[in-house]
């Protein structure tokens, strides 16, 4: 009856564990989980019968063995884990091409106002856009590193004044703000349309991909 009750693969008795097999097991365990594994967790693999010192030594050997590959064994705060090296990342990114992400119209318009009218307060932006500007819009642009508060306007409430950053210029491949499309050009576009009732712009929604 014992034949059936034993799982197909029984772990070896400890004494039959060669150093190679110990290393193989550690390596496999670390490769199967994205969570870092602390030494104490790794000791469970061997029913706590191997010392932390021995495991550390083997882990160092594994780290050394992987040195030339695209993946490395590292220690982070909560333990050991395998992770990709920076040099591999650009290739892996090709496997998960981001759908062309787009900022919402609210974000783009807010950014444009800040870029052309800086420094401006949230109130200024709302006045120009004619609608309120949500905090998340400003947060998104701040987090992206494209705008920053450069001071406060001395009016009740002391609203922050926003301006674009040099990161914004870098990300748009500009050297200076002067390289932004000039307002003149756009104004003429708008003014020329004054002659017609019809504006030469498609409905914002439609062109707002």
């Amino acid at each position: 009856m014992s034949a059936q009750s034993t799982p197909p693969n029984q772990p070896d008795a400890l004494d039959s564990l060669t150093p190679e097999k110990t290393s193989k097991i550690l390596e496999a365990a670390l490769l199967t989980t994205q969570e870092p594994l602390p030494i104490n967790e790794l000791r469970k693999l061997f029913n706590h019968e191997l010392s932390a010192a021995l495991l550390s030594k083997i882990l160092e050997e594994i780290r050394e063995k992987w040195r030339d590959s695209g993946v490395e064994l590292v220690t982070v705060a909560s333990g050991w884990r395998f992770q990709t090296k920076a040099e591999i990342q650009p290739y892996l990114d090709r496997l998960t091409p981001q759908k062309t992400l787009r900022y919402s119209r609210a974000i783009m318009e807010t950014l444009a106002i800040i870029a052309y009218r800086q420094p401006v307060t949230r109130g200024d932006i709302e006045e120009i856009r004619g609608v309120s500007v949500s905090s998340s819009v400003l947060k998104t642009l701040t987090t992206r590193g494209w705008i920053e508060a450069v001071g406060h306007r001395n009016v009740p409430g002391k609203p922050a004044l926003f301006a674009t950053t040099s990161q914004f210029l870098d990300d748009l491949n500009l050297r200076t703000l002067e390289e932004l499309p000039p307002l003149e050009e756009m104004r003429s576009l708008i003014e020329s349309s004054d002659n017609h009732q019809e504006l030469p712009f498609s409905a914002p929604e439609a062109s707002d991909r």
Binding site: Q4, E109, I113, Y116, H152, N154, L161, E178, D208
Partner: protein
């Protein structure tokens, strides 16, 4: 004829052969090693019995294969009586299963009765053997049961092996939308268009560079009590830049964003952000 426990196991639990199998069960402290040899199940073993067999087909198959039970020679009268007894008991919480066993019994009785009836020779050729359908079903079930067993022996993800998954160290910032100048231009023209349409807003001629330098001056003042006027001008600035910076300072003063002070004639001119002055 008493089958060996081992053959019993492999017969009953063929699917579980490669899996963990505990003894069938213990009934009143006695391990149950025997599977009933006819269709009568002792009441106290009923629950175990229900767990052991997948259903009437499974039980019938077992009886035929392991006990060479001839489906024609099942003692129907006695069997029916026995079945009715435990169907009564099963009715409490296993009504559906009771029905399935009952149906099987009825089917067996029907087969038997039809086999007993004399059939005229001529009809014999056309009429199907009454056992045909049952035998077909038993064989098909047995085949699937066997297939399930083989399937269970295949290596199975998570049970027999684990898929490798290494952490991807995201050294590149989270993917964010990219914009280009056309996007920005588009956003701006949309605003202007709307402003024009809605409010006949006058678009002022705007010196962009002054705006840019206004931001820069505020940046320079940020976190400082005050800055000397001359320090706001970069030593390497071109003449145009100096002019624009000066215009920016004036514009900021006009917008009450900074304060320019001079304690005495020809003394040092200080520039301080009003923001800083207020909060200091």
């Amino acid at each position: 004829m008493q089958p060996q426990p081992n053959t019993l196991y492999s017969a009953v639990n063929s699917v579980s052969d490669s899996v963990d199998v505990s003894p069938i069960a213990k009934i009143c402290g006695e391990p149950l090693l025997e599977i009933p040899q006819d269709l009568y199940i002792p009441p106290d073993a009923l629950e175990v019995f229900l767990d052991t067999f997948q259903g009437p087909l499974d039980l019938l198959l077992y009886l035929i294969r392991k006990h060479n039970l001839n489906i024609l020679d099942i003692p129907m009268a006695e069997l029916t009586l026995q079945y009715m007894t435990y169907v009564d008991m099963m009715r409490v919480d296993q009504l559906e299963l009771a029905a399935e066993y009952l149906l099987m019994t009825a089917l067996l009785i029907e087969i038997k009765s039809r086999m007993l009836l004399p059939t005229p020779k001529t009809e014999m050729e056309e009429e199907h053997d009454p056992r045909a359908e049952l035998v077909r079903r038993l064989l098909e079930y047995e085949q699937m049961k066997k297939a399930a067993s083989r399937l269970n022996e295949l290596p199975q993800a998570e049970r027999d092996f684990t898929v490798i998954q290494v952490w991807i160290e995201q050294n590149v910032a989270e993917q964010l939308p990219n914009i280009n100048l056309d996007d920005l231009r588009h956003a701006w023209t949309t605003i202007l268009t709307r402003a024009k349409v809605n409010r006949h807003h006058q678009v002022k001629r705007e010196m962009l560079s002054v705006r840019a330098y206004m931001s820069q001056v505020l940046r320079d003042l940020r976190g400082q009590e005050q800055v000397e006027f001359y320090d706001l001008f970069s030593p390497t600035a071109t003449a145009a830049e100096v002019v624009v910076t000066f215009l920016a300072i004036l514009e900021l003063a006009k917008e009450l964003l900074l304060e320019i002070s001079q304690s005495q004639d020809f003394g040092i001119i200080y520039v301080r952000s009003i923001d800083a002055a207020e909060s200091a």
